[in-house]
Every structure is written in structure tokens, then in C-alpha cells.
């Protein structure tokens, strides 16, 4: 393999260069699509339309990425009329006919974000520039979502975000070409707040441990606002380095701080580690201020929570979606996903599957793939039957508004997937907010190429 790129290169290059001198004039036009006078980038010309699935395939979120990819493959099957159709049967309103999108068969390409902004943009660019992807979707972190969303705005390619929970994605970093179905930190706080007051009372003293980066800060701020509005007091907020591994030096100060609730604004491996270690320090067996000490994990992911084992039992948190939901849409999705892969989908898989279908449906409604028209079709779109009840893609910030789940770690799981119990499906009205509070600007519909 190495030989191919090394030894003979000079000889081949000489030949190539000779050829190059001849074709140099035409070469660039082959590569840049604009020379064809297309009205938009990657306009599907044949009988297929290509979507780009950009998910983490290496690094700590590789399993989540793999689950996202499974969901996308399922979505492609259903869009093309294969399999049992999944949510195509439950989604309302639906213009999807199971014959692809606008009569064109759906094809897809994949890329590895590595959960790094640079790598994610590189693979998104590859899919757009080389593979002719008309839409990019996926991802498992807010940094990546914001970075790719920015790129897609420049390229004039629609981006349907995967798992991203920071307020910034549809707040200060929102883009006209970016759409998020997943919920956000603000909604987690708003949904969790009243449940926390119900369960733990209004006189509590909270101690925050927060992952020291953008998402962590927005999560901390949202939780702080929500809990303080209930009358809770915030004892301290401590930032922890991302990927700290051992959190003991941040956990010991909690012991004698007078706090009686620990809020872990961590996700993924940080959450697994900090929760595991906090429980080992005996925090949950403690009594402070005459109350049982409690731990709260604002953003719960079932897939990642497996890593914390028994430590999640009884812990409250919020989640975008869980496979145990009983509505028709969720059941249809779980059924076709489980039948194909043998286990239930994660919330990341759900949001990705829904995003793919929503994009396809918007194209059908717009009657074109022309991105500005598809964007207009998505903006303000109201739909139901895809889990989480009636949902709206708000036009002002491209954030979906829907019910949020408050969940608790299952004390008696019946299977390795049965980790979370839904405590309450918090109605959409309770988590809605004014789009202007986070600032940001969507930008133009038309993008010069």
C-alpha cells in the first residue's frame, strides 16, 4: 500500500504531469460544480439523491456514532420503500411515499467526525465536494455541530444536526442552514426544575461540577437558573477539565461543603467517571442538613449510562427520547430498529432517524431540493407521530419544540437496555422560551457559491 504512494510516484508523476499540461485548462471545471451553471450545489442530476452521514466512528463516542449510523441506514431503507416503513406510517403530516425523495432513490455516504471540529469539517467537505452530498447530518457533540453548521452555511448545504445539547447550536451560533431536532440545556433545566422541587423540596443547596467547555457552561447556567427559581441555593460551581478521568479532587470538597445536592454537568465519559466516583465517595449514603444527599445528571444518555453500571440507579436526569415510550411513532421506530439490529435504539439514533425523515419530507413539500425552499419548508413546520408528541421546528432559531422526558435510573432493570424509567413527560409549553434570549443570527437563505 505504501509502495503505491511512494516509490513509483516520480515516474507516474512525470506521466501525469505531461497529461496535466494538456488537460490543465479543463481540470478545474471538472471539480467545481459551479462551472455547470447549476443553480445550487450538488443538484441531483441522475435518479439518486446523496445524503452525507457524518458521525463519530473513532474516539470515545464511536458507539454512539455507530448507533446513529444504524438509524440512518434504517431511514434510507424506509425512505426507499424497503423494510416495514417505520415512522413513515405514523408521521403526520407526511408526504413521503416510500419511493425515495421526489422520486429519486436515496443513496448515502459516510464520514468520521472523530468528535473534533477540524476532522468533522474535513469529512463534511469531502462528502460535499467529492461525493456530491446534498445534505449533511449527524454528530455527537455541540462543538462539532456548531463547526459543521458554520461550514454548511458557507457551502449552501443543509445540515440536520445529530446529538447536540448546547444552547449555542440554535442560540448564538445558529445558522440558516442548520436545524436541530434534539433538545437543549435550557430545556433540560426547565423540565427538571419542577420535578426536582417535587422530589427533593424547595430548600436545597446545590453544588455543581461542570465540564469546562461551552456545553458544560450552558448546562450549568440553565440548571442554576432553573433551580434557583425554585428557591434552591447554589453553594458552589466548579469547572472540571474535560477528560479529567479521576475526579476525586473535585468530589472531596463537596463532602463538607454543606451542599445536599450534587449536579453533574458532564456528558459521556466524564459523566460515567464522575458519577461512578461520586457514588464511591459515599455521597448517596450521606445525610446533610437532615436530608438525603442527592445526585442529579441533567443530560442522561442511556447508551453512555451503561458505563456507569449500577451507579445510575435512582438518579434523576432528562433525556430527549427513550425507547420505552408508548406512542405509535416511537413504537414503530423501536420495532423496526430492534427487528433489524436486535436491540433498541438510543436517543442519538432516534434524533438522527427523525432528522433524515424530516429533511426528506421537507423536500417533498417544497417540491424541490433547492436548499432555500427546503429551509422555508422546514421553518415553522408542525408535525406529530415521531415520538415526543406534537412538535414544531421554530422558524426563528431552527430549534424543535416538543415534550422533554425527565427520567430516573431504573432500580430494577429487566434487561441491559432497560436503564431509564420515564418519570414525567414534561409538556412542551413548560420548556419553551423566547428565541431572542440567546441572541445569534440565522443569516441569509441564498448563499453565493
Amino acid at each position: 500500500m505504501t509502495e503505491r504512494n511512494d516509490g513509483p510516484s516520480r515516474r507516474r508523476v512525470l506521466k501525469g504531469a505531461a497529461a496535466g499540461l494538456v488537460t490543465a485548462g479543463i481540470a478545474p471545471t471538472i471539480i467545481t460544480s459551479r462551472a455547470y451553471g447549476q443553480e445550487y450545489r450538488n443538484k441531483p442530476s441522475g435518479d439518486t439523491v446523496t445524503l452525507g452521514f457524518n458521525v463519530p466512528q473513532t474516539g470515545p463516542y464511536a458507539d454512539e456514532g455507530a448507533d446513529e449510523l444504524r438509524a440512518y441506514e434504517l431511514a434510507v431503507e424506509h425512505l426507499n420503500g424497503e423494510g416495514d416503513g417505520g415512522m413513515l406510517n405514523t408521521m403526520q403530516p407526511s408526504n413521503l411515499k416510500g419511493n425515495g425523495i421526489l422520486g429519486k432513490k436515496v443513496a448515502y455516504v459516510t464520514g468520521d467526525t472523530q468528535t473534533k471540529s477540524d476532522a468533522a469539517r474535513a469529512s463534511a467537505k469531502r462528502m460535499i465536494e467529492k461525493d456530491g452530498a446534498l445534505m449533511i447530518t449527524g454528530g455527537s457533540s455541540s462543538g462539532v455541530a456548531v463547526a459543521v453548521q458554520g461550514l454548511c452555511q458557507e457551502m449552501g448545504t443543509i445540515f440536520m444536526a445529530g446529538l447536540t445539547h448546547s444552547n449555542d447550536t440554535t442560540g448564538k451560533d445558529k445558522r440558516r442552514y442548520g436545524f436541530r431536532h434534539f433538545f437543549n440545556a435550557y430545556m433540560s433545566g426547565a423540565a427538571l426544575g419542577p420535578v426536582l422541587a417535587d422530589e427533593y423540596g424547595t430548600e436545597r443547596r446545590a453544588y455543581h461540577l461542570t465540564a469546562d467547555y461551552n456545553w458544560g457552561w450552558t448546562q450549568e447556567e440553565s440548571m442554576k437558573n432553573a433551580t434557583e427559581a425554585l428557591g434552591w441555593e447554589t453553594v458552589n460551581t466548579v469547572k472540571t477539565p474535560v477528560g479529567a478521568g479521576d475526579f476525586s479532587q473535585y468530589i472531596t470538597p463537596v463532602l463538607n461543603s454543606g451542599a445536599d445536592v450534587l449536579i453533574l454537568n458532564h456528558y459521556g465519559r466524564d459523566m460515567v467517571n464522575s458519577l461512578t466516583q461520586a457514588v464511591q465517595f459515599g455521597l448517596r449514603d450521606k445525610q446533610v442538613n437532615g436530608k438525603d444527599f442527592q445526585i442529579v445528571v441533567p443530560l442522561f444518555s442511556r447508551l453512555m449510562a451503561q458505563g456507569a453500571g449500577d451507579n445510575i440507579k435512582g438518579i434523576l436526569g432528562s433525556t430527549n427520547w427513550n425507547w420505552s415510550l408508548q406512542d405509535a411513532g416511537s413504537q414503530a421506530f423501536v420495532k423496526s430498529f430492534g427487528a433489524k439490529y436486535g436491540f433498541p435504539p438510543s436517543m442519538a439514533a432516534h434524533t438522527c432517524y427523525v432528522q433524515a425523515l424530516l429533511y426528506a419530507d421537507a423536500c417533498e413539500r417544497a417540491g424541490t431540493f433547492y436548499p432555500p425552499d427546503v429551509i422555508r419548508a422546514l421553518e415553522g413546520h408542525k408535525f406529530d407521530g415521531m415520538g415526543n408528541g406534537p412538535t414544531e421546528y421554530r422558524a426563528e432559531d431552527h430549534q424543535c419544540f416538543k415534550d422533554v422526558l425527565v427520567v430516573r435510573g431504573n432500580e430494577n432493570p429487566t434487561s441491559q437496555f432497560d436503564l431509564l424509567n420515564v418519570v414525567q413527560q414534561v409538556p412542551r409549553s413548560q420548556v419553551e422560551y423566547d428565541a431572542s434570549i440567546f441572541g445569534g443570527e440565522l443569516g441569509p437563505y441564498e448563499v453565493s457559491m
Binding site: D63, L255, N273, F281, G307, A308, D310, S324, F337
Partner: protein, 342 residues
């Protein structure tokens, strides 16, 4: 007061872990002179010995229940672990103690891995430039990592400690203070004791056995030792095997504190290199001292009071200390002259 005592405990606990994890690297890197970027991967392999043992012990007999269907329409599964089915309560005890028991599995496995690595690959690189040692060991680390990912996935896998050791010890009461002021998890105390024992054993081995003496002599002057008819190569192989075992058992015992995933080794790689170099090349006591120093300073730097004065200090403290020490002491804390300086 109690805050400072607790951070001191944290520091000792971290320091013990750092020293233990770095110990295997010092043996290979500081003494054999091989820049082993696969050391983190060895630590990770050790951790996965624990995962494997637990997986084996909790292998379950699956009976399909076709009456009850799952949400996706397949029969539900009724699972009973074989071990419990066969051995009853004793089986349950085995599962409970899977982590310490995994040491018994890790020793032969890691020894085999270490020897195979040295004989198959590293042996050819003793006389090669360090740059090439980096490339080959880094490549090897990636390969080992990807193999683990292929079989175990990318998510962390929880490894519960034996139940007797879960929860925290009330150290304050032992010191005559009020209850619940100084509590510390049992398993962390176990890990600390474990690192002290392993480090002591390795020291004694090198200091007081003929084998150790020959290895030390071989490090100082390989040619001469070879000339007097001692097969130093064999001993270097054994040394590499020993380093792998130490890294492996360190990994096994760490799993309850940090649920392992395939990426674990890379996270510890940089840290262990810093510990070894700050301690000084070729010095085992140096590495241990550096481990404790960095552990304790890191704990104190994480206190809110300290962070209020210097924001973000806990993010950089390890590297900052490394820079200061290397500038004040040219060969780290206890480095020998001429080792890896050119």
C-alpha cells in the same frame, strides 16, 4: 483543615496511581532506553483482562421466552449466569471478586504479551533511532486499541469492586475527629496499598536479586556484561515482560475507579511520560517521587480557593510543574547523566 487533609489524601492516592502506572514505563523507557508509546495500551490491556474475566464469569444461559415479546417483537430472554447456576453462592463470590481475581489472569496474559512484543518487534529496535521506536510502538498501540474496540465496543464498561470494599471509610473517626468529616472510598485505599506493595516488590527485585543486579549492570554497560558471558538479551526480554505485567495489574486494579474503554491507554500515555521524565531518566525512585509530587500538587491546584487566585491552574498544573522542575534540575528529580540526553 479537613479540606486540606482530604486533598492530601487525594494527592497520595493519585500519586500512588501515577507512580504505579509510570513504573512499567520507567523499566522499559528509563532503563532499556526504548521509547515505548505502547505503554498506555498495555495498561489498557490489563484493564480489559478484568473486563474479560468478569464477562466470562457472568456468561449467561439464555432461555427465550416466546410468550413475552420485547418492544421490537423478539422473544424476551431469561438469563442465568452459568457460574451461579453451577456453583451457587460460591459462584456469586467469584463474580463479586472478579476484579482482584483478574490479577491472576492478567499476570500470565501480560507476561505473554510483553515477551511476544519484545521478541517479535522491540528487539529489532534497540539500536534503531528513538524516532523509529516511537513510530513502531505508536503503531502497535493503535493496533492493540482497535482490536479491543472490535471486541468490546467503544463505550466504557463498568467493573464493580467487591461489595465489601464499596462505600467509604471514615478515616476522621480513626484519627479521633468527628464522624463523616474525612471519609475516603475503601477501594482507593486498597489501590494505594496495592501500589506501594507492587512498587516495593519491583524495587526489591532489582536491588536484591542477582537478576536485578545483572540487569542494572547491563543498563550501565551492555557490552561488558555481554562479554563476561551473560546473556543480557534474555534478561532484557524478562524485563520487558515484567514491565508489561506491572502495567497490566495497575490497569486491572484501576477499573473500579475508571470504567475502562479502548481509549484508556492514550489518556494515560502523556501523563506517564511526564512522570517518568520529571522523575529523571533511568531512575526508579525518581519516577515514584515525581508521581507523588504531581499527584499532590494536582489535588491542591484543583481547590476552589486556589483556582480563584489563578484561574485554570488545575488544567495545566502537571505541565507547569514539569517545566519548572526540568528548568531547575536539568535531569529531572533524580535522573542519571547521559541517559536519553542526546
Amino acid at each position: 483543615m479537613d479540606a486540606i487533609l482530604l486533598q492530601l489524601l487525594n494527592g497520595l492516592d493519585k500519586g500512588g496511581a501515577y507512580a504505579l502506572i509510570a513504573l512499567g514505563l520507567t523499566l522499559v523507557f528509563g532503563t532499556l532506553g526504548v521509547v515505548n508509546f505502547a505503554h498506555g495500551a498495555l495498561f489498557m490491556l490489563g484493564a480489559f483482562c478484568a473486563v474479560t474475566l468478569r464477562k466470562l464469569l457472568t456468561l449467561e444461559q439464555v432461555v427465550l421466552d416466546t410468550e413475552n415479546l420485547t418492544a421490537w417483537g423478539t422473544p424476551t430472554e431469561i438469563r442465568t449466569p452459568y457460574v451461579e447456576a453451577w456453583f451457587g453462592d460460591f459462584g456469586a463470590v467469584l463474580v463479586n471478586y472478579s476484579v482482584p481475581l483478574a490479577i491472576l489472569l492478567a499476570i500470565p496474559v501480560m507476561l505473554a504479551v510483553g515477551v511476544a512484543m519484545e521478541r517479535g518487534l522491540i528487539k529489532h529496535f534497540y539500536r534503531r533511532p528513538h524516532a523509529e521506536q516511537i513510530l513502531v510502538t505508536f503503531g502497535l498501540a493503535i493496533v492493540l486499541q482497535e482490536i479491543i474496540k472490535h471486541f468490546f465496543g467503544a463505550n466504557p464498561i463498568p467493573q464493580p469492586m467487591p461489595e465489601n470494599f464499596s462505600g467509604a471509610a471514615d478515616i476522621g473517626v480513626m484519627l479521633g475527629m468527628d464522624p463523616n468529616v474525612i471519609v475516603y472510598p475503601w477501594w482507593r485505599l486498597v489501590y494505594f496499598a496495592f501500589s506501594v506493595i507492587v512498587i516495593g516488590a519491583v524495587f526489591a527485585f532489582l536491588q536484591f536479586t542477582t537478576f536485578g543486579m545483572v540487569v542494572r549492570a547491563g543498563m550501565a554497560d551492555r557490552e561488558t556484561v555481554g562479554l563476561i558471558g551473560i546473556d543480557i538479551d534474555k534478561r532484557f526480554t524478562a524485563m520487558f515482560g515484567l514491565a508489561a505485567v506491572v502495567a497490566g495489574v495497575a490497569g486491572v486494579m484501576y477499573t473500579p475507579l475508571l470504567p475502562p474503554d479502548y481509549h484508556l491507554g492514550m489518556d494515560f500515555l502523556v501523563l506517564t511520560f511526564v512522570v517518568v521524565v520529571v522523575g529523571g531518566m533511568g531512575s526508579l525512585p525518581g519516577a515514584v517521587a515525581a508521581g507523588f509530587l504531581l499527584g499532590i500538587l494536582q489535588s491542591f491546584a484543583s481547590m476552589t480557593e486556589v483556582k480563584a487566585i489563578i484561574p485554570g491552574i488545575d488544567q495545566i498544573i502537571i505541565y507547569l510543574v514539569a517545566v519548572i522542575i526540568l528548568l531547575v534540575r536539568p535531569r529531572g528529580l533524580m535522573g542519571r547523566k547521559g541517559v536519553m540526553e542526546s
